[in-house]
Amino acid sequence: MSEAHPDLVPGGAGAGDGATDGADTVTALRARFPDGFVRAVVMSGQTVVHVTKASAHAILEWLQQDPAQRFDYLTDLTCVEYRDPERPLEVVYQLRSLSRKADVRVKIPLDPQGPLDVQSVTDLWSGANWLEREAWDMFGVRFKDHPDLRRILMWEGYAEGFPLRKSFPLRGHWSRAEQTRQALDANPEAYYSLEELSIAEAYGELPADVRDRLAKAGKVLP
């Protein structure tokens, strides 16, 4: 057996060097946001915090920026709808602190019948952009102040609904002929222009080494 890497501490998440564990995060969060906190559970060693929709953005911002928390990495953002109609639809944020080697999962319960809208976290983690677009595409959750809330898996203009909702039949609502007609009628260029995908447009935002390589290969428009 090889010697364990010093950074890999047995006991998994939250047991890093000088780190607070999930329970400390929950305690601090509860003290700071008494109104926003709903409940917290530990499931399979993972800390899950349920928070209200109204305070969710402030709580996520605090989790990211508080020196004792430093959850600087948004591992995933998704939604869950359960078969039990009594249970709420949940927006799930899986956060990771790279420096503290700690994880926490934040959930916002929403009424599946009510308006599905939460505040976007693209201002905190830029990587949330496509994740929120996916959640919008599949579940119909609107993310307020998202810079570009278009569908991402289904094409823009897809009118059949939100496929991962429990009310959505597996084969869709419409007949196959109608689905085929709608699909053939879609005009991808109206929503995804070549300019949008063009590397010339994004040239200024590319990393320096990629820019050098493209310039050497003569692949860049003057």
Binding site: L170, R176, A177, Q179, T180, A183, A186
Partner: protein, 205 residues
């Protein structure tokens, strides 16, 4: 299944000729040339494309069948090979590629998904590319082995050898009609019906 045949109405401008010694000799030479220099337009979307690449590589060597040149432009291609599942999002794309290919042109539907939707009997997937474009040869398999694709290509060559210039309907473009479909809606629904294990698929359906 009782499907009506695809519309192959010959435009009135075409003057039909009766077969004779000259047409059959010309047919033979044209078909011999066409069937032995098919330039494929690969439309690989999934695991079938891996088998397609294996077919094109040295061990199976597609070049033996005159398919040396892979055409990545539809305008210089003869046969569209759809290798993999086709989501509805790609339906207008493959339709556009097919429309851009000049006559004479053929289509091979490679694998279970391209031919029937395969295991993906869901909201996102086209249930057989023959609801979008006309198909000449269906290759079964999930994915088909290279031998399977080669057999499909040889079947296509055989089919081409049987074509004749006295049948102008062979070269008629089957376009998307004013109703936004290229074949009758009832036919699309019938082709797309669940079969096999999908019949017992009851989840939320």
């Amino acid at each position: 299944m009782g499907l009506s045949p695809l519309s192959t109405a010959v435009p009135a401008t075409h003057e039909t000729i009766s077969p004779n010694w000259i047409t059959t000799r010309l047919d033979f030479i044209a078909n011999w040339g066409r069937s032995n220099s098919l330039w494929p337009m690969p439309f690989g979307t999934a695991c079938c494309a891996i088998e397609y690449m294996a077919t094109a590589a040295s061990r199976y060597d597609l070049a033996r069948f005159g398919m040396e040149r892979q055409s990545f432009s539809p305008r210089q291609a003869d046969v569209l090979i759809c290798a993999g599942r086709l989501p509805f999002k790609l339906a207008p794309v493959i339709r556009r590629i097919w429309d851009q290919m000049p006559q004479p042109k053929w289509c091979i539907s490679m694998g279970a998904c391209a031919s029937s939707g395969g295991i993906f009997d869901n909201y996102a997937m086209v249930q057989g590319i023959d609801t979008i474009i006309p198909v000449d040869v269906y290759v079964p398999g999930c994915p088909p082995r290279p031998e399977g694709l080669l057999y499909g290509i040889m079947l296509l060559q055989k089919k081409i050898m049987g074509e004749t210039m006295v049948d102008p309907s062979l070269r008629v473009e089957q376009l998307v009609g004013p109703d936004g479909l290229f074949r009758r809606p009832a036919d699309i629904d019938e082709i797309s019906e669940p079969f096999g294990n999908s019949v017992h698929q009851t989840r939320s359906a």
